[in-house]
């Protein structure tokens, strides 16, 4: 199948990409745009490691076709740090030790950022719900929830 040209905004920058119709958004971002922060854990929407924000909404990029983001706005984990400064959620994960092997971390941080954008002062229960689509094999989640609560408080 011939490639198709799409235009989108990735991390604030207008980008043109030639994509194969069968590529997922995740494949395009990792393999064509060479932004490898987003991970593929399951490929079936279950683990959240591939989470990105499309038009302001959190999605699993392994289930979205690249062609479906034509004309849209995509934010990946690489887009969070500004002027060499980490996003408060990223900083909080470091400060509280919410990272072990790090595989789930980009997705966790995208989900946490998206939650805090909607709910700046979440309860622990809201944090649990907001991250329910993100699996971690290492930390047991306590440190991750702590990091998000910490970032919320830091943002006040």
């Amino acid at each position: 199948m011939p490639k198709q040209l799409i235009t989108l905004i990735v991390n604030g920058r207008r980008t043109e990409v030639a994509v194969e119709p069968r590529w997922t958004l995740l494949e395009m971002v990792r393999e064509e745009l060479r932004l490898s922060g987003s991970k593929e854990g399951c490929g079936t929407g279950d683990c959240g490691a591939c989470s990105m924000i499309v038009d302001g909404r959190l999605v699993t990029s392994c289930l979205m076709l690249a062609t479906q983001v034509d004309g849209r706005d995509v934010v990946t984990i690489e887009g969070l740090a500004k002027n060499g400064r980490l996003h408060p959620v990223q900083q909080a994960f470091i400060d509280t030790g919410g990272v072990q092997c790090g595989f789930c971390t980009p997705g966790m941080i995208m989900a946490a950022k998206s939650l805090l954008d909607r709910t700046p002062s979440p309860t622990l229960e809201e944090v649990r719900e907001g991250l329910a689509g993100n699996l971690c094999r290492c930390t047991g989640y306590a440190k991750i929830y702590e990091a998000v609560m910490h970032a919320a408080n830091a943002g006040k």
């Binding site: 929407g45 909404r57 699993t60 289930l63 076709l65 939650l115 907001g130």
Partner: protein, 292 residues
């Protein structure tokens, strides 16, 4: 994934023409949370489509709207997040908002559409029992125009609907709930989020004073399609609500469904859960009907 040609029509007519042109080789794509997963599976149940018709840009399918004269319209392309967050649905059609809020994670809800949930026709589809309890109608569009079908007649079996290959589900119409109606939906799953219903139960009760004027009970994951429980409804109507009445109706609904056994539970276990969940949803619907 096998390769395919991608089409992004910008009107309903254009989408239908594409489906007509490519017939069985074409497949509509909405949020992709069922279809993309299926297309990635090596042994797919259906022939891998060679044409994908994306519905993302079809404006006729989008959004939720409401009027006192026409009731509720949910576009097939409305996402579960839009439905779960809609103030009018939360207020007047509570069970529908509850069903939408259960579909996977935030990520899933942001992508998954009502149309995709219904057209994928899983017996466990969480938006189906609440819509059945509200007696929703499917509005179907094809080359020869529009037709309406009671949602009950839309589901034909697991993965099977009344849609022809060149037809699309355009929207769902839900009648205005009568005054004094309360509704509720919940499901039983081992895990609270990110799981598929072992049993789902929706109930809607309309009270006239101290009598149940109208009762609707709908069940998910206990038959080849989502179903109403007409005998349980009949047992409730005209009666004064009580724990004994609800227990009796729950026994009836457990007896009239036809669950299968699979890795999520035996048939007997499912009947037991239907009984427990029906009682619970009836009580919840009654409380909500009373508190207006």
């Amino acid at each position: 994934m096998r390769t395919f040609e991608y089409h992004a029509p910008t009107s309903l007519n254009e989408a239908i023409s594409l489906l007509q042109e490519h017939g069985e080789a074409a497949r509509p794509l909405a949020g992709g949370t069922d279809l993309v997963v299926q297309m990635k599976e090596k042994a797919t149940k259906f022939a891998a489509p060679s044409h994908i018709v994306s519905l993302l840009r079809v404006p006729e399918l989008s959004g939720v709207s409401f009027s006192e004269s026409e009731g509720l319209r949910i576009g097939a392309g409305a996402t579960m997040s839009q439905v779960a967050d809609s103030p009018i649905i939360r207020e007047r059609y509570r069970a529908i908002a509850e069903g939408a809020a259960l579909v996977g994670s935030i990520q899933t809800m942001n992508m998954a559409t009502v149309g995709g949930n219904l057209c994928n026709a899983a017996p466990s589809a969480d938006i189906a029992p609440p819509l059945l309890a509200f007696e929703a109608e499917a509005v179907i569009v094809g080359p020869s125009g529009r037709r309406k079908l009671a949602l009950e007649e839309f589901f034909l079996g697991p993965g099977k609907t009344a849609l022809a290959a060149d037809e699309l589900l355009a929207e769902v119409r839900v009648p205005l709930p009568p005054p004094g109606m309360g509704s509720a939906y919940d499901r039983h799953t081992p895990r609270k989020q990110m799981d598929i219903a072992v049993v789902g139960v929706a109930a809607a009760l309309t009270m006239a004073g101290e009598r149940i004027e109208r009762a609707r009970v709908a069940l998910g994951a206990v038959a080849p399609t989502p179903v109403r429980a007409p005998q349980a409804e009949a047992a409730l109507e005209g009666q004064a609500p009580s724990d004994e009445l609800f227990a009796r109706a729950a026994d009836v609904s457990a007896a009239e469904c036809s669950p299968i056994a699979d890795l999520r539970g035996s048939a007997e276990f499912r009947r037991h859960i239907v009984r427990v969940m029906t009682k619970r949803m009836l009580r919840e619907a009654l409380d909500r009907a009373r508190s207006g």
